[in-house]
Amino acid sequence: MLLGISNLRMKTTKKRGRPAAAPAKLLPKCPTGIQGLDEITGGGLPRGRPTLVCGGAGCGKTLLATEFLVRGATDYGEPGVLMAFEETEAELKANVASLGFDLAGLVRRKQIVIDYVHLEPGQIQESGDYDLEGLFVRLNHAIDSIGAKRVVLDTLEALFAGLRNEAILRAELRRLFRWLKVKGVTAVITAERGDDQLTRHGLEEYVSDCVILLDHRVNDQIATRHLRVVKYRGALHGTNEFPFLIGAAGLSVLPITSLGLNHKVSNERIGTGIPRLDAMLGGRGFFRGSSILLTGTPGTGKTIIAANFAHAACTRGERCLFFSFEESPDQIIRNLQSIGLRLEPFVKSGLLRFHSARPSLYGLEMHLATMFKDIAQFRPRTVIVDPITSLMDAGTKFESKAMVTRLVDYLKAQLITSLFVSLTQGGHALQQSEAAMSSLMDSWLLLQDFQGNGERNRVLYVLKARGMAHSNQIREFLISSRGVDLVDAYIGPSGVLTGSARAAQTAREKAEALAGQLEAGRRKRELEGTRQALERQISGLRSEYEASAVELRQIDEQVRTQTRLLTTGRTELGRLRQADISAVAGARNGTVNRRGA
């Protein structure tokens, strides 16, 4: 007699020709589309084979399975069947709607079939022998009705509560898994975690290809979900425990250890909104797509620099997303107006978006997931996180670092410039607290307090800036109603002077310069006087000299006149005495000489 079971098998055998079931050299994988899970498993779940997902209550088994189906239908064109033993179709649709999955729409478009199997414990009477052919028929019908490639059975263990004959049940389950393989569908079977074994009813015995363990545990009052691939036959897989998030966009596993460092970089530089700061960074600001860490003690003006950065981005016409974990958007806008920075127009025009949430609102995983969603939705060119430190308090040290790594990596991969504000405790900006985070950052600005002279002043310096020339100088950071500015701090023999000390020093220098000027003027005038006196003397002497020259000439003239007169007299005498002229002349000369002597 021909049995129904074998009949059904014949039916499936006919459909076995599909490529999914065809053995390949490499184990074919079925991508889940779940962020991170495909990276851990090296491409997805084993195609055409069942995978067991086990874990305690509330650790996300159903969600993982549902996302596997939804992603398959939407991203990979693989219709799926969801056989639910615990939740009704309406419940399931409502539950995943909050994750942005339009399960109802997928069902309407015949991409997903949901079959709710209702099993009330103790309601079914068993009498005699039976098999679970009804389940097979339903599953087979559902698969064939839409040509499903993926199947989820959630949670198959409900059968153990509904049916008493465990011997039949186990035999049928074994047959079911074999049948699923023959059918060539990639199946995910969820199961409750057992005390001393993976699943309460030992389902791992039947599913031997891939086992994923989910776990939800609390560390330091913070609950985190973890995922581990316990077994993956025939494939390499990450064996670590990976934290995973259930966010508004579904599941996201954080495979920190498998993040590749191969993002593209940009040579474009973008301004910070503070010209002097740009000047410190080689005159052109930061690289686009780089990650910037801004640390500082309380009240050093971190948010102001961040807001300037946002303002500059929006002025360039780029979208900017501002994650604020301490202040509400209105408060930030109001406070920055006091220094003349108007952000409101940008908020209104949609270039600037604030996302404010208390860090304690929910766990780190949720924060990260919401941030991812916001970033994916808004697609900003610049992201500001103010401050990252309060967010990091929401998780353990390791988790926070993993989170920041993932965030930085995500932003870098999309060439989004990111500014992380970090609050340091204590009087001085200690660097070791950020040591873990700083290695992830491309640039690091440090804001610090300088105390002295009964006042407190802010200084800023560039601690590091990968790949660009930058100033090593400390600059004083001034905040006034006209905005912010950086000025050279006074560096003298007594160290760095800021604030009033710098002002006093400048004044002192000014006074000294003024005194010097006065002194020089006085000396100049003095010298001028001396010079004029000398000049007067010179002109006196010259007139004297000229007077004596005139006298000399007069004397000469006198002598010549006298001589002539004398000669004339002698000649006249000689003529009168009839003397020889030459003798007279000679005699005259001798006479003259004698008189001159």
Binding site: G4, Q125, G128, D131
Partner: protein, 109 residues
Amino acid sequence: MTRKAVPPAASAIRRRAAKLWQLRLYVMDQTPNSVAALSSLRRLCEQCLKGHYRIKVIDLLKHPQLARGDQILAVPTVVRRLPSPVRTVIGSLADTERVLIGLDLRAAD
């Protein structure tokens, strides 16, 4: 098989039998379990509900889409559609006592 009257022995049965019983038997082709279940059910109904029952046999091999409506998992399955509430018994119905309890069908004897 809608026949009226035929007074049963006990009054309790009369009260229950006043209405027509609607039973569905889900089978899978002609498997031994299915065949056994059908004959058992017929025998029991004849004993307790003579003339006041209707059995609809549904072959899931021919109508797989019908399995969902009555939440069928196991084969064979008997579903008591009427009188309400719905009651379900699975198996070859070899254990008569259990069938009677399951369908709330006290034997006339």
